[in-house]
Amino acid sequence: MPAFFAPSMARLIEELSKLPGIGPKSAQRLALHLVKGAEEDVRSLAEALMDAKTTVQHCSICSNLTDSDPCEICGDGSRREDLVCVVEDPSDVVAMERTRDYDGLYHVLHGLISPMDGVGPDELRVKNLLDRLREDEVQEVILATDPTVEGEATAMYLARLLRPLGVKVTRIARGLPEGGDLDYADEATLSRALRGRYSVDSG
């Protein structure tokens, strides 16, 4: 496809199409938009890309992406240090923060165990988590990986690994979405919700 474009344009399309979720057609559209746009805007984008690439690093405590080490969340003294929520990637931290209901710390694994792809605990930030739990005074670890098979496998593996450390290990609940209609719920979700029912007295 890029053969019909000037070599520099073809290269730009090729580079853009390497991005996740960007196919050849979208890459072509983005490239055309960039070259048609003002030079100042393109320079600003290029600078932002390079700036992010050079300054963003992993937090030495929670492994989240940050500009400063430790990250803003780990350095926030008002948060509960005895509670750690384990998530798959940085976007999950953002999702949890949006709830404004959680005031503990995080640990980002940067992936999930995926046996068929040969991705095991060594490829994830599991060792950092264990070191952290041994050193810090963490009382509870919340496993908030996706409710997929890989997410469950990772949660099961971590639960087994963390049990001997004497910390309370919990898993986020699964069930019906807020405002959802029971009629439209699938069997698996409804069955999960039934098993996770709670007494209304206890709230």
């Binding site: 046996p115 068929m116 098979v149 593996y157 699938d186």
Partner: protein, 248 residues
């Protein structure tokens, strides 16, 4: 097939595709291996995610796309949910699914392989000894796919095998001591007991697996041997073999 069609299948894997979609790989009963887009599966309210969970047996309504077809709707025929909450069974299910993803061919129906996979996943879900199920599966899958090794006589000279023999991967069978003498390459020694166990598992009816009693150490050694043999025949590594013990 034009427009829309239905398939009965076992879901082998489901991986992220773009922001909200997933790509499900299935072994169907009538159309072989099939890859389907599951639009919006990452969203919490998606009904399609629940019908494309790995290891479930499902019936799916499929729309036809230009490059990939996609899931329109469907239902779970046999949910093997228990598999997903039992670490050891889950590790073994991954191994089975990965092997099938290599053996299954797109567009080529392989009902015996489909039924074998479904039977073994159900056995895992029913609590049959995991090691036994995986060894049984590999032996039967080798037979279904046409590369079950010759174990009742020397594959080279057709002579009788003694207690100790050599399973030569390249020759596709056991070699007697004499023939094994000058053979180099991939393989491993195999005792008469192991050959007998392989023969029994190649014949046993799946429903009798629950009552089948076998020494775990012997099964473990058989598992290593047959997985190595299978990897040699497939010319690729079975990644999930290393996770069976890890998830235990």
């Amino acid at each position: 097939m034009s427009g829309e069609y239905s398939v009965e299948a076992v879901v082998l894997e489901s991986r992220k595709l773009g922001e909200n979609d997933r790509l499900a790989t299935l072994l169907t009963r009538r159309h072989g291996k099939l890859r389907l887009v599951v639009r919006g599966a990452a969203k919490p309210r998606s009904k399609l995610a629940a019908v494309t969970q790995p290891f479930d047996c499902v019936r799916l309504d499929v729309w036809r796309g230009r490059t990939l077809d996609g899931v329109k709707g469907g239902e779970v025929l046999h949910s093997l949910r228990r598999l997903r909450s039992e670490p050891k069974a889950l590790g073994c299910a991954y191994c089975l699914a990965e092997i099938v993803s290599y053996l299954g061919q797109e567009g080529e129906a392989d009902e015996p392989l489909y039924l074998l996979l479904l039977t073994c996943l159900r056995a895992l879900s029913a609590g049959v000894l995991e090691l036994l199920v995986v060894v049984f599966f590999i032996i039967r899958a080798s037979r279904v796919s046409g590369f079950y090794p010759v174990l009742d006589q020397c594959v080279r000279c057709a002579g009788e095998l003694e207690d100790e023999s050599y399973l030569c991967f390249g020759h596709g069978g056991a070699l007697c001591r004499l023939c094994a003498g000058d053979v180099r390459g991939d393989g491993a020694s195999m005792t008469a007991c192991e050959r007998e166990l392989a023969g029994n598992l190649a014949r046993v009816h799946p429903r009798n697996l629950l009552e089948y009693e076998e020494d775990e150490d012997r099964l473990r050694s058989m598992l290593g041997l047959f997985l190595n043999y299978l990897e040699y025949q497939l010319e690729r590594r079975v990644n999930s073999r290393y996770f069976m013990d890890m998830l235990e």
